[in-house]
Symmetry: D2
């Protein structure tokens, strides 16, 4: 019953098999190999257009490199105030951008409204003392597990481009959002106005494989140098590319995401049917943020469930956590088994019953 | 017949098997897993002392992070003028150190003599305009395939410490040097005065696995933050550690290095027996730098041999490459087969014969 | 009637005369001159102890260099959410620290309460993803014109040191705070626990002269290199030092500050006596933040008064600006003449009268 | 008899008078004042075209900011191996560029030949491991006191532009070069292909005043932010601009430079007439590099002459310093008096006589 994150499980069998398959024979080093070439081509097919693709081993690298391409050292990057890039990467964006600033804006469930962004921009002084706003970074799925609709992305993109900002998407859970929306990768990105994307694959079944996909060719220009200089160009580059071969083959990535999302839907449906349990905001992909009685939280932990407590910073205005309640995050993944869900719900139900009886 | 580098081959079977083995079950993310804990302990055993160990996926990251720990942004780092860190990493040390400077000193075959270092240091002005020398970085094996003796390392370390410099070793080919010297890892590092080490494993059989080993605890302090912030802390950290499990088990790493070195010895012995062929400097590990007739170079390439031409910058004074000669680098690895060596020599012999006959 | 800032006026006559006096003859360059040596000694006398002093031409440089000495590239620096360092320097701290992050905390009138700081620190996760808090930067006078009492500084210092943070003071208006408290420079700094100080002189009568005063010798170590490398070591260093000679002679600096504060007291007293005018928070040094009717604001501007509108972000909870009101900042200086104050008040009084009559 | 540098003297009377004149009245801060506006306009007249002008207090700032505008963090900047930017600024270019690399090339007397630059560029690998060459920085006057001819600048510019490099000129002694060539500022810069210039005024009579002049509007774009963020935008900006008012009025700057150059010509002519004294290379502006007997060096120092010993690194091939000789640098300035020259020559002549007699 480990719902701590979608990175607590290993890789899937197809991904591992592709890795082993790619091992044979000599290949040119530093990304000049045939496997990498195939995958770069595959990305273009998936996104239905030419795009510059840069494979890297971690999401932190993907995000920070993408932001560095979009934001000058003296620039400002807007994001949600609980975004991964601002809170969880020990300042990686600041390191890779050489000192740009991240400005965190509020939004329920990690989602930014266009008016929030527009108002913030309107309030900035136009003076050399002010770092000029250069990019907006949103997460799809958001830090709170919400999924931006295509029109919501397009509205943010339009606002960004009208004011000279680039739009970056942190797609650590790209596939989960994609199957949630039931749209194409192209529709969820460049067709909606996204300029540069961190395409995550690690959380959804790979060992350590992410990609920066730059739709704006200006943003692509510096990335080969930036990646090399940051130590993120693997000498045996085939091993990064091979993971994507296994990942993309036969819609494996989409199947993984569909499974994770389905497990989340089931888990949230069963939990919210219990007395005293509610969601902080809707469960739209493979995460849910659950407000539950403290006694239930204790019972679950006592039964060996693993998950993280969460901050109440992005609750809707007026919504609060009661003194006897707590807010937790549950994440499902490609590896979540129905049995894990059932056991978790059973323990919760038991606690709910005791509480109702008390 | 690919002698281009020791990173053109994939990983060994024991390493891949360890990776697959580590895949099962849930593990804490970001290096808090059990596999990583075991490997950090294993490093302490191998080096016969406590040491801070930071696993990273690339050698560029290992070198640049290690140097960033040792050299402040305004500091000077000495190295050989053809060192990997100064020539081949697109400025990674400059990026990670936030703008420190690398000063390249001369030395035959990539090896630095203590007098060269001492004279350079003595010639620096003691003024605030001068970036203060803060570290010396040497490569073991050197860029020219030479191996520093234990006394040579100790002499450099003593000189460094007397002048307040830290000694860093780029051990991309650590195992090849180790078996060449027939000493222990402790003897080749901290017992000789090394402060911080880039411990390479990728070239010698892993997919993408290197470690920074900090013997000086002052240098260790910042590295956890630096690694995270550089995107080199893997979320599924077990996969980095697992490679080392396969690598270290049953002296696999030493066997790999012994094989590579043996192949190099055989290849260099057979080549230098041919008319018109000589070594630029001795072959001491798994690389050789061969001066050969241009006609032989053409014949080898025509037969499908793959290798790189090399610079004559580190030849001994007075030694020169003739107009009809060229200098090449040949690298053997754990995967080099005797048959590759034989075929290469055969082609070379044919060309030598034709030349002698002409 | 220019109350826009204390940097809109030039320098005082004693400062200019000292500059001209220092011009004669040859002097060693780059701060090795006799004038600089005298001034460094003078700082020690003024602060009643040895301290490392680094003269620089701007307050931005003083603040950013001081913070760079106290906060590593991966560190977090706390400050007020409207602090000059976070809002008005185009990211200078981020540039000089190589990417550290500033966290802005709330506080009425720009003043931080120890509980605000303590609560924020307590809420930070202890994880490598979190940039470690390394310093607190407060402004004395605050951005809102308030003056920290000695006990308030000591409480913040104690809290900082208990948690391993350094305490930096942005003393752009150091003299104004000093005469407001009637204490000694030592009492307001190191005796209260301040580790490093930006000592401003430009706003209070110099042309361009600030000093970093490091009481913590660890923090001093890197500053000579950092200053040189940032281009803030003047070649004709005597001109920087000479300004301080004029500034410190015969308590000129204290007289300037006393005058500015007296003008502020008079202006705020007369304004708040008018109908519809109140202070956002007390006037304690040479700035006042005035909430006044929009009609009065228009009348003042119409009469040629120059000043800046201000943000309502640091009002006390519950306090608001009415629809017919506006919040402005007025700053007095060494050069403010009683006549300016009188004319300003007269215009305001006229507008207040018209309003009361309406 | 201080010939140590042209920054050992203070400022000229016209410059100081302009400073005092600019002191009166209130002015907008941060470079928005009327004096700065006038001076920016004046630069356009002097250079006969629109150009973006950024006033800064030091030459280090001017050079480092100009290079940061021209070279990305991963770029390579070529310069002479003894250039001020590579040797004397404690890594300021590395700091401001965020880790770019300076490559030092050889050249007699500090002057770079086009073939040297072209050969170096041709030898660079075209690989992502190689930092891409992005700019060439030359000094006019060179570190060795030579003056590039207009055709020499044009040849370097053409070569740079053909290969995508920007051409930067470090004009710390711009006026000295200008009067030596007898050409216009436009001819010596943008008409010859210069993209960005550090225009020095401090050494030639100001207190602390330099300007970055960007002829390439692409390079100008970031500089306002970079300057602010580096703490080089003065709050009382008028004092920087005022120095230039005094400097430019009535050809004062050209007169200063002509005087300095004339003093240098006289000093070098008289010295080289002495037995055992020769120039390392021609004296073309206000510096001379003199090879003289050690006994004469002792006599001069004994008589109170002040100057620096110099490196023999940029001597012509085959030229060497004898065991009884030494190489020194002598610099004249606007403040050098004929009497200083005479006394210096007299002491030298005495020593030469004793030597000839011995």
């Amino acid at each position: 019953m480990n719902f701590a994150s979608d990175n607590v499980m290993g890789a899937t069998t197809p991904v591992l098999e592709a890795l082993v398959r790619a091992n044979a024979g000599a290949e040119a080093a530093y990304g000049a190999d045939a496997v990498t070439a195939r995958i770069e081509q595959r990305f273009s097919e998936i996104f239905e257009r030419e795009a510059a693709v840069f494979l890297v081993p971690t999401g932190t690298a993907a995000n920070a490199l993408a932001l560095a391409a979009a934001v000058p050292p003296w620039g400002l990057c807007l994001c949600h105030c609980e975004a991964h890039v601002i809170d969880d990467e020990c300042g990686a964006p600041e390191f890779f951008t050489h000192g740009a600033k991240l400005a965190g804006l509020p939004g329920v469930g990690g989602k930014l409204a266009p008016t929030t962004v527009a108002d913030y921009l309107a309030g900035l002084p136009s003076s050399v003392k002010q770092m000029p706003p250069s990019a907006l970074s949103i997460a799809q799925v958001t830090e709170g597990g919400l999924v931006y609709g295509l029109d919501e992305i397009a509205a943010l993109a339009q606002l960004c481009h009208a004011r000279g900002l680039k739009l970056h998407v942190d797609g650590a859970r790209f596939a989960n959002a994609l199957v949630a929306l039931g749209c194409t990768p192209a529709e969820m990105t460049w067709k909606a106005g996204v300029d540069i994307l961190s395409f995550g694959a690690t959380k959804n079944g790979c060992l350590a494989a992410e990609a920066i996909v730059a739709f704006d060719s200006d943003l692509a220009r510096s990335l080969a140098y930036r990646r090399k200089r940051a130590g993120h160009l693997l000498s045996k580059g085939r091993f990064l590319a091979a993971q994507f071969e296994g990942y993309f083959a036969a819609d494996h990535w989409l199947d993984n995401a569909r499974h994770a999302n389905a497990m989340a839907r089931r888990l949230s449906a069963e939990l919210t049917a219990l007395h005293g349990v509610r969601l902080a905001w809707p469960c739209e992909a493979n995460e849910m943020f659950v407000i539950l009685p403290r006694a239930m939280d204790q019972a679950l932990k006592g039964a060996g469930a693993v998950y993280h407590p969460w901050s109440d910073k992005s609750l809707a205005e007026g919504d609060t956590i009661g003194a006897s309640e707590t807010l937790i995050r549950l994440v499902t993944s490609f590896a979540t088994r129905p049995g894990d869900v059932e056991r978790f719900v059973e323990v919760a139900r038991g606690a709910a019953g005791r509480e109702a009886a008390a």
